[in-house]
């Protein structure tokens, strides 16, 4: 931190603050060691990288192989636009609504059953009283929406009740829901499917999908064509690798030629995990050595995609806690490298576990600042957790939810539907 002394650009009061921090550390720490030594061994410096498990369980392959194939084909028009028109589709939620209601409602419904009628007592009352507000507040807090967003929502509603704009508990609940839906619809949730990707899909449709590293196409790929890169980022254990696998499956099923980049070189066996997904999705994969430089894996993947004609590179990254500065720096580097032509980063998706509480906002803020996140993937929404933190994230950071993970099956990754999501909150 002294450091900042060298970083002359920093403002002076920060410098003063930092100047204090150092001696504090030195005195506290130094003295501590001097005195409280209990004979523990001296260990080496902290290596960058991490060990915490990023451990989403996923599909039983056999169980769902057949079902998956059909299910994926069913939803493919929604799931992965294979043409320009579909790519420009503005409202993925609506499409999802009409094309796969069973999945979305069904999955969420299972969890919702446990708290069914949470707002029953609100609705059953003849008029709005103080317990009504308490109940609404509790429902929102329990869904992890957070104190700030909850207060903002309810204060607004209080004003509208006072001015008689809203009459009766039923109308109040409906108003709350529609407020939430519009709050969640402010940003464009469409995924970036570049035209080139659709074209690529068409080009190579007849080639079939060669699994493994040997792409025998021998096609005439246009080197000037940019390679779209999707980057998946997030803290440990949210389901990044699984999400990459599912997205690959969707794209692949829709005829897009996908290349996976196993950018998690840190977690033991993360590369193996992604390889299994690659073979499931009929996608190619580029892997590095364990402990290797993730940026170089992504770089290699982009190069390979350019020469072999893959339209999209899906880059997995190691889970990293957002307060680990050097790991966030590493991620910035990955993004820079991925954005080097012919690569072009079109999506940076922050994968967020639905069980995450208020810390999710801090995560989103740091990742947004560091790598310009374009959207959120909310995973594990098939449990009892509601994932309400995405409301706070969209409200404060304007970051839309783009995809939702509803289960362990390959097909259980769908476009975000604000209506269904809000329904499930209560």
């Amino acid at each position: 931190m002294i450091v900042s002394s060298a970083a002359v650009s920093a403002s002076s009061d920060v410098l003063v603050g930092l100047a204090i921090a150092i001696p504090v550390l030195i005195v506290g720490v130094g003295a501590a060691v001097g005195l409280r030594l209990r004979g523990r061994g001296v260990k080496g410096p902290v290596p960058p990288g991490e060990v915490v498990s990023d451990a989403p369980t996923d599909v039983e392959l056999e169980r769902s192989a057949e079902a998956t194939r059909t299910a994926t084909l069913d939803v493919e028009t929604t799931a992965t636009p294979a043409s320009v028109e579909e790519a420009e589709r503005a409202e993925p939620g609506e499409e999802a609504e009409t094309l796969e209601p069973a999945t979305y409602r069904g999955r969420l419904g299972k969890a919702r059953g446990l708290l069914a009628g949470y707002l029953g007592s609100v609705r059953s009352k003849a008029k709005i009283d103080s317990t009504t507000w308490d109940d609404l507040e509790e429902a929102l807090i329990r869904a992890d929406v957070g104190v700030g967003a909850t207060d903002a929502l309810l204060n607004d509603l209080r004003g509208r009740v006072k001015s008689n704009e809203i009459a009766g508990p039923e109308a109040l609940v409906e108003a709350l829901k529609s407020d939430l839906v519009s709050m969640l619809s402010t940003a464009d949730a469409a995924l970036a499917m570049p035209a080139s990707m659709a074209a690529a899909a068409d080009d190579h449709d007849t080639d079939g999908h060669d699994a493994g590293d040997h792409d025998a196409d021998g096609h005439d790929a246009d080197d000037a064509r940019p390679v779209a890169v999707w980057l998946f980022v997030g803290v440990n254990g949210v389901g990044k690798t699984t999400t990459v696998g599912k997205v690959a499956n969707r794209m692949s099923a829709a005829g897009t030629k996908v290349l996976l980049a196993a950018g998690d070189t840190f977690r033991a066996a993360a590369g193996e995990q992604l390889s299994l997904w690659a073979s499931r999705a009929d996608a190619d994969i580029v892997r590095g050595s364990e402990g290797g430089d993730p940026s170089s894996v992504v770089f290699d993947a982009v190069q390979r995609a350019a020469t072999k004609g893959h339209a999209v590179v899906l880059a997995d990254t190691a889970g990293r806690l957002h307060n680990k500065v050097n790991l966030i720096e590493e991620l910035k580097k990955i993004r820079r490298v991925a954005d080097r032509p012919p690569g072009r980063v079109v999506e940076v998706l922050l994968v967020l576990d639905a069980t995450t509480g208020q810390n999710g906002l801090a995560q989103a803020k740091v990742f947004l600042d560091a790598v310009d996140v374009s959207g959120v993937v909310l995973t594990k929404l098939d449990g009892t957790a509601k994932g309400g933190i995405v409301v706070a994230i969209q409200r404060e950071l304007g970051l839309p939810v783009k995809l939702v993970g509803l289960g362990e099956g390959v097909e259980d990754l769908v476009d975000f539907d604000p209506d269904a999501f809000v329904d499930a909150l209560f």
């Binding site: 603050g17 150092i22 550390l25």
Partner: protein, 520 residues
Amino acid sequence: MFESLTDRFEGILTRLRNRGRLTEADIDEVLREIRTALLEADVEIGVVRSFTQAVRERCVGLELSQNLSPGQQVIKIVNDELVAILGGETLKISYAGRPPTVILLAGLQGSGKTTASAKLARWFKQQGRNPLLVGADLQRPAAVEQLRVLGQQAGITVFSEPSDPVAVATAGLEEAKRLGRDVLIVDTAGRLGIDEALMGEIRHIAGAVNPHYTFLVIDAMTGQDAVATAAAFDEALSLDGVILTKLDGDARGGAALSVKEVVGKPIAFASTGEKLDDFDQFHPDRMADRILGMGDVLSLIEQAERTMDRDVATKGAAAIIEGRFTLEDFLEQLQQVKKMGSMSGMLSLLPGVPKDVKQASSAIDDRQIGQVEAIIRSMTPGERVNPAIIDGARRVRIANGSGTATSDVNALLKQFKEMQKMMKGMGKGGMSGALGGMFGRGPKMSPQAMAEMAELSEMGAGGGELPAFAGTGGGPGALGAGPMASPGAGGGGGRRSSKGKGKGGGRKGKGGGRVTPKAR
């Protein structure tokens, strides 16, 4: 991002400082702040409700002591209650009379079971035990492979086979007996509490191996759902405790409090870092401080113990206190501190450091630290001891030598001068005085932390050379937190008497730190 409870109290505190007694309205206001702070720390809303009720009861009619401000007293009450809920003691593992002692790990997907299994095995090994790991997560692709790699790093044998989880666990138990292992740790697949089929499966696993301890692995970042999850697993498996993971993040970890209160099972272990060694038994009192946003000096100290060179550190501390801290010492200390990990991470553990400083420090990366080192290394020994001799020509030489600009060199020198000045202040007036002056803020540090720091500095100086520091005693102007804990723990001598002990008050035994193994 989150204001700590102490931050929140600041405004209220200034108004209450001179009151003899808290009014009903004061208490309401304070409780609202407590409520918000707890909710932002992800404490379950039902727990928050009963908690604030308990605090209210203790606050009403509170006779205010002469030494403590009302706000300090309220914080003390809150802290006491938190510690009481979290449980006063760490869990003691009782080993089975007929080995192996079987431990089953369960949890949601991505909570960190596989890593926790390896870390737990490593912990047992360090206790002199001889563990065997069983990989019964056959769901997630490559989960067993991950466990094998971790096991190899930890020097622990891993057993698994591609059959079904129940069979693997059973065979693992036989294997442990055959190999004469005295601890068996079974890693399982992640599952949702509402997934009937998978919950049934893990019940079968438990039935097959008869675990002495069943631990639920919970991510410290978990929100309100932690309680529902814990309740579901407890119902299915009858948990013995919880392993809290990813505590090295900046989540407050209110989930820990909620689970303990609602399910009544203690937090047994906590995982606090990326390395296999970053795992230890859980200390409830420290968690209370964290939830309140009061930092965690003890954790910092332990981190330091693990990584720092004792002689170098002592030398540096002595140099500061004697007012002869040179750039040479600075360089040496910098390298020590660097070994401990990220600066911002360490700062986050320190109480009393303003938020803006913490934020600013997170912008610093190792490259910049390297730059500072390069500048100092480009100086002659004479220059390092006496920077005053560095004139224009020397500056240019140093800048050229370190590949920086002369403005960088100037900035560093200026900064170092300020630091020296402050250190002199610390040597004379005690760190609290220096810090209090610099930050210009009200009470910030927890008394316990103050006591710790006081004692540390005192001892670091070779004993008893920092009277002003140790005797802060609630004096205004200095850090002012004073002996908020029971007198003797925080104030006066400042000798290490507490690690939070004596704080739990009357309810201390309630939490039940000890868990006896179930009959097999």
